[in-house]
């Protein structure tokens, strides 16, 4: 078998193209992989007492995070979302208005009572509230409970919602995320990701709530 010059060049070209291809794929999947720890982060994991609740390090203001006024919690704002804080409540919305998420402080004390508060508030705010699941989970190492279901809002939009109540290091917190039922499936994934990005901080004195 003799190799002509053309076949050598052709083989080199193919090898070069494959190298470029592999490089592109490596770069692409590397970027995909960077997101994985966040997507599969705190939400959905089972209750874990060993994990420390909240962040002991002082809050650092990143460009894509939104803190409440007293810096007791922070939430990551995805690129296609806008955010605003109003005192102890931080609200995020997609720019197309098809999803929203709000975080604030909840009633102090028993988490089940806090969850009941959330359910009562949801019942008052929406029509036809249908709770599909209630599950224990951990969020930023803090014990939490989630409630998920469907409801219809005052504008008549059918929503999927996910509410989370969290026994944070200093206070109880409440998170409620909503997206239109007819929105893209990835909206739920993104909403979960945003909920999973919520971080809780101790006060300057480093106080924690005593755990029962």
């Amino acid at each position: 078998m003799t190799l002509t010059r053309q076949s050598m060049i052709f083989a080199a070209l193919i090898v070069g193209a494959l190298i470029v291809e592999v490089a592109i794929l490596l770069w692409f999947f590397d970027e995909q992989g960077e997101d994985d720890p966040v997507i599969g982060g705190a939400v959905g994991s089972q209750f874990d007492e060993s994990a420390a609740c909240g962040d002991t390090s002082p809050p650092v203001a990143l460009s894509n995070t939104r803190f409440d006024d007293s810096k007791r919690f922070a939430v990551e704002v995805p690129p296609a979302w806008k955010s605003k804080s109003d005192g102890s409540v931080v609200t995020l919305r997609t720019k197309n208005g098809r999803a929203a998420l709000s975080v604030g402080r909840a009633r102090a004390g028993d988490l089940l009572q806090t969850l009941e508060d959330l359910r009562a508030s949801l019942r008052r705010s929406y029509k036809g509230l249908d709770v599909i699941s209630i599950e224990p989970l951990t969020l930023d190492g803090c014990p939490a409970r989630s409630v998920a279901g469907r409801a219809r809002n005052r504008k008549g939009a059918l929503l999927n919602f996910e509410g989370v109540v969290v026994a944070g290091p200093t206070d109880n917190f409440v998170i409620a995320g909503f997206h239109a039922s007819d929105s893209e499936p990835r909206m739920k994934v993104e909403l979960d990701r945003v909920i999973g990005s919520v971080r809780f901080y101790l006060s300057e004195a480093g106080d924690r709530l005593p755990r029962s």
Binding site: L13, N96, G156
Partner: protein
């Protein structure tokens, strides 16, 4: 023949792998073009936030004009406090006297039984006192200040911010407007379609690059064949 097989396998490998990558990318939001778009949109968002922050003090300044009942409520609270004080004085000193600032006649007209039954007067004092504090509470709750202070202190009422947080979903718009299918409004196309279109651009770029490389390879083969034929002939 070998070259054709080689070219075919190259074509399969080159086209299949971007396809896989594209499938993966449908779930993700990260690509270089999106980063650029984000860099452009972020200042706009920040500017919007600044506007929101500027609006807040203005909105805070407006309520005295927009909500006149606050002052009367406070006035009522003060009046009730005064009545409570007067009644308490009457209860302490049923016969009236020089130390009663409001005067005995007016007191008896306000609380006829106070002069006769101090116990009843005390009970009423308690009732009024609680009423006064309730009024003060109401007046306080109408003003933003005390409510804000308690919120910052972490005790935002019994249920905290739960009501406000739970109501966040009421801003979400329905995809269907009056029977017309507008599931993807203009803004939705912008946001929902942005990552997909960017991924599309990415795929297209890869495809063009792949086709270009294949074209170059094919050109080499063809020119090689032509040269071989020319050399043989």
């Amino acid at each position: 023949m070998k070259r054709v097989v080689l070219l075919g396998s190259f074509l399969v490998v080159f086209c299949a792998s971007p396809g896989m990558a594209a499938t993966q990318s449908l779930d993700g939001l990260t690509d270089p073009l999106k980063d650029v778009v984000d860099k452009v949109t972020k200042p706009v968002d920040e500017a919007k936030d600044v506007v929101e922050e500027v609006k807040k003090p203005v909105e805070k300044a407006l309520p005295p004009v927009a909500a006149p009942p606050k002052k009367p409520v406070v006035d009522v609270g003060k009046a009730v406090d005064k009545v409570v004080k007067d009644v308490t004085d009457v209860a302490k000193n049923p016969s009236g006297g020089a130390n009663n600032p409001a005067g005995g006649a007016s007191d008896s007209s306000l609380t006829p039984s106070a002069g006769n039954d101090p116990a009843t007067g005390n009970a009423r004092t308690k009732h009024l006192a609680s009423g006064a504090s309730a009024s003060r509470g109401a007046a306080g709750s109408t003003s933003a200040g005390p409510a804000k202070v308690s919120r910052d202190a972490g005790g935002t009422g019994p249920a905290g911010d739960t009501e406000q947080v739970a109501a966040a979903g009421n801003t979400i718009q329905s995809g269907e407007v009056k029977g017309t299918q507008t599931v993807a409004p203009a803004a939705n196309v912008d946001e929902g379609g942005s990552s997909l279109s960017l991924t599309g651009v990415q795929i297209l770029t890869w495809m063009i690059a792949a086709c270009g490389l294949m074209a170059v390879g094919t050109a080499f083969i063809l020119t090689g064949r032509l040269r071989l034929r020319a050399a043989r002939s």
